[in-house]
């Protein structure tokens, strides 16, 4: 009974959003699968099961976030509590409810804290993806199920790491879709995840690798896996450098939903 109610509510929310002035990001079903964290404690299993879920095909845009800010004045730049967002929150915007040239309407919203991203997701009837969900969605390539061994996909990801962040940012959804139909995962902006701060990274990456030595030695293709997964290491490192109130010029977010 509860499930049915939830499904109806979710449907209703979806209809309401679709009726809004702005098109909300569509989402796709990410089928159930597994995720192998690059940093694990000795007790954790090597692979984590990820249940099927819906993930937005692109990050939240400035225009969408503006709608949220209009509806929720406490998230305006001038009113937000410093506990929930440090200085520089929505810093590319021209004003409290003005986007301006540095924040095109269809570009991903950045300089938002984890608290703000979460509040938006709740307002939109969604939630943030977990790191495991996010990595699961990003594990496939453009055309094959294993992105790490798909040359074109790896090249695209490395090219992003090898180039400075453009200003203003390109439009959300302009990247090439991966096998699941999700765009912009590794070539537009970093993205918040629900549990960004649970990675076991101490700040000194070499020590972390040392902690994992047993795992790496146990795995036959240790070195090969390590260099193939450079992007996964970089994402883990990036997430672990954050605190929930931080706002970063190339950090946005996208939303997810659980299956009804």
């Amino acid at each position: 009974m509860r499930h049915v109610v939830h499904a109806v509510l979710a449907l209703a929310a979806g209809v309401a959003l679709a009726r809004g002035a702005l098109a909300q990001a569509g989402s796709v079903l990410i089928p159930a699968g597994t995720y192998e964290p690059v940093y694990r404690s000795g007790q954790e299993p090597g692979a984590v099961s990820v249940a099927a879920f819906f993930l937005d095909v692109r990050p939240v845009t400035n225009a969408e976030f503006l709608e949220f800010v209009r509806a929720n004045p406490s998230w305006r730049r001038s009113r937000v509590s410093p506990i929930f967002a440090e200085g520089g929150y929505l810093g590319d915007w021209a004003g409290d409810v003005q986007l301006g040239a540095r924040a095109p309407a269809d570009s991903p919203v950045v300089r938002v804290s984890w608290f703000a991203a979460r509040a938006y997701a709740r307002w939109a009837g969604k939630r943030l993806p977990t790191a495991a969900e996010w990595e699961r969605a990003a594990s496939v390539g453009f055309t094959t199920p294993d992105g790490a061994s798909e040359p074109a996909y790896r090249d695209a990801v490395l090219a992003w790491f090898s180039a400075p962040t453009p200003a203003p940012l390109p439009a959300a959804g302009s990247g090439r879709a991966n096998l699941f139909g999700v765009r912009d995962l590794s070539d537009l902006v970093w993205e918040w995840v629900e549990d960004f701060n649970t990675a076991l990274v101490s700040g000194d990456s070499r020590g972390d690798t040392g902690l994992d030595r047993g795992l790496f030695c146990g795995a036959g293709a240790a070195s090969a896996r390590e260099f193939r997964d450079y992007p996964a290491f970089m994402r883990a490192g990036f997430r672990s450098s954050l605190r929930a109130s931080y706002v970063v010029p190339n950090l946005g977010f996208r939303c997810a939903r659980s299956l009804p």
């Binding site: 520089g88 090249d155 490395l158 970089m234 490192g237 990036f238 450098s241 931080y246 970063v248």
Partner: protein, 497 residues
């Protein structure tokens, strides 16, 4: 009563706790730390100064203070696109905007406050591990910094010496390979002996997806990095960073000190200056001048050395990694230009250049000199580039490889490397001229009546690059020997050994 062992023990415990608390804030409290840098609470009494930081090859002036200071070191981490070689760009991750990172100079016993600012435009979080730090991670555990944030920590350099610092964020070889390394000199309290010139040179590897000299913005290649097969090995962050008008300079009779570091991330450097001898060397950058008259010194990745020598005669002295394939073909070359009066007793210069009857007059047989193919459009599916463009592209190739032997002026070195300027050997046979850089050439030849007997390896360039560099050589220094097209090189490459 006071001699009661129990109470003595208690008193000792209290005292050592107090000491631990007092020292815990900033200082290391090493037993060696007996002088002015000794314990004492947070050292709020120290005068504050901001470190003057320099970009290579400059070194900050020696420290003239005789007492410790609270030195603030502001380092801004920036991810910037810079020239790696002519026409080749790379996104370097930098401590201070350049590769290597800023040179930091402090004094033994100072209180050094590192403020690591990660520029808002950075893609990555970064941190800093200074090998001069006694403490976990060398500071890395205290300096992990998201883009648009600043981390601060402090340390007391207990051990004078020259130390590497670098980023230690995962994947560490990528952060270091992208340029995140530099040097910090901890001067001993008594200072270092004065010299006429101090220079900062640091070696590092770059792993690009494209081959050496391939133009455009090159991405990092993780597989080459994992295999330790760098595309480039460079001094001070770029091919040619210490060449031409950027060469190090000195006058005859001056003493030169080079603070030489190796960022790695992987290769050991065999540091050598052609035509000089390291008269004093602080091996492995310890503070003891412990050896004299060293020709080549090993510098490990994450290690450094201090070398000194007095210049005696004028000329150009070439800095190399004496693992020579890195110098001739990957970029590890720099120059020290010394001006002043000659001293013919120390070095005469060439006195005579005579034929030697034994061997030198054999001419390489001009085998298979088929007629040059007819000129064809150079660019597939497009208008051929103008001669001027091809000459300019060829100049870049020449400056990446050929100049090291044939010299920038194309005159070569008498008796060793044949001239290209006005070369009858070059002019006489275009097909042969194409084969030389394409396939290599060894053995005795005669150029402009002078014998040469040496080895030139095949050059690892594309057909287009070879055509361009040949066109450059055939139209420079007064040469007017025609042009070479890509198709001619292609045909020669297909034409067998």
């Amino acid at each position: 009563m006071n001699s009661n062992p129990a109470s003595r023990l208690a008193l000792t415990t209290v005292l050592s706790c107090a000491a631990a608390l007092a020292c815990g804030t900033f200082t290391g409290c090493s037993p060696r730390d007996t002088g002015e840098a000794a314990s004492g609470p947070p050292r709020a009494d120290l005068p504050i100064e901001y470190a003057l930081l320099t970009a290579a090859p400059k070194v900050p002036d020696p420290i003239i203070r005789s007492t410790p200071a609270h030195v603030i070191v502001d380092i801004e981490v920036r991810e910037v696109v810079r020239h790696l070689a002519d026409g080749v760009d790379y996104t370097f991750w930098t401590f201070g905007g350049n590769v290597p990172g800023v040179f930091i100079r402090v004094r033994e016993g100072d209180l050094v406050e590192i403020r690591l600012h990660n520029h808002p435009s950075s893609k990555m979080p970064h941190n800093i591990d200074l090998h001069a730090v006694t403490g976990p991670g060398g500071g890395a555990t205290s300096s992990f910094t998201a883009p648009g944030h600043t981390s601060t920590f402090s340390f007391t350099p207990l051990n004078p010496g020259l130390y590497v610092y670098h980023c230690a964020t995962a994947p560490v070889p990528m952060h270091v390979g992208n340029g995140m390394y530099g040097l910090i000199l901890v001067e001993p309290k008594e200072g270092l002996p004065p010299v006429d010139h101090e220079y900062y040179v640091m070696q590092g590897e770059v792993y690009t997806a494209g081959r050496y000299g391939e133009e455009g913005l090159q991405p990092f290649d993780p597989e080459k990095s994992a295999d330790e097969r760098p595309t480039y090995v460079v001094f001070n962050g770029a091919v040619g960073s210490l060449m031409g008008d950027k060469a190090l300079t000195a006058k005859v009779g001056e003493t030169v000190r080079i603070y030489f570091g190796n960022g790695g991330p992987n290769l050991v450097s065999s540091f050598h200056v052609i035509g000089e001898i390291f008269e004093t060397i602080y091996q492995e950058a310890g503070i003891l001048p412990n050896q004299r008259n060293v020709q080549t010194t090993l510098v490990s990745p994450g290690g450094a050395t201090i070398v000194q020598f007095k210049t005696r005669v004028p000329g150009t002295f070439t800095l190399v990694d004496h693992a020579l394939s890195r110098a001739f073909g990957k970029g590890a070359v720099g120059m020290l230009k010394v001006t002043g009066p000659e001293d013919k007793t120390i070095y005469s210069g060439k006195i005579a250049d005579l034929n030697y009857d034994g061997s030198a007059l054999d001419v390489i047989p001009a085998a298979s000199t088929s007629a040059a193919p007819p000129p064809a459009p150079e660019e597939e599916g497009g208008a051929p580039a103008s001669k001027e463009v091809r000459i300019e592209r060829g100049r870049r190739v020449f400056q990446m490889a050929c100049f090291a032997c044939h010299q920038m002026d194309g005159k070569g070195l008498p008796g060793v490397f044949p001239p290209l300027a006005g070369s009858d050997f070059l002019k006489a046979d275009k097909a042969r001229a194409i084969r030389v850089p394409l396939k290599g050439l060894s053995g005795a030849i005669t150029v402009n009546g002078k014998p040469f007997n040496n080895i030139m390896p095949a050059q690892p360039f594309t057909d287009q690059q070879l055509a361009d560099v040949l066109t450059y050589v055939m139209n420079s220094w007064g040469n007017d020997f025609g042009t070479v097209s890509r198709d001619e090189v292609k045909a020669a490459r297909a034409g067998g050994p």
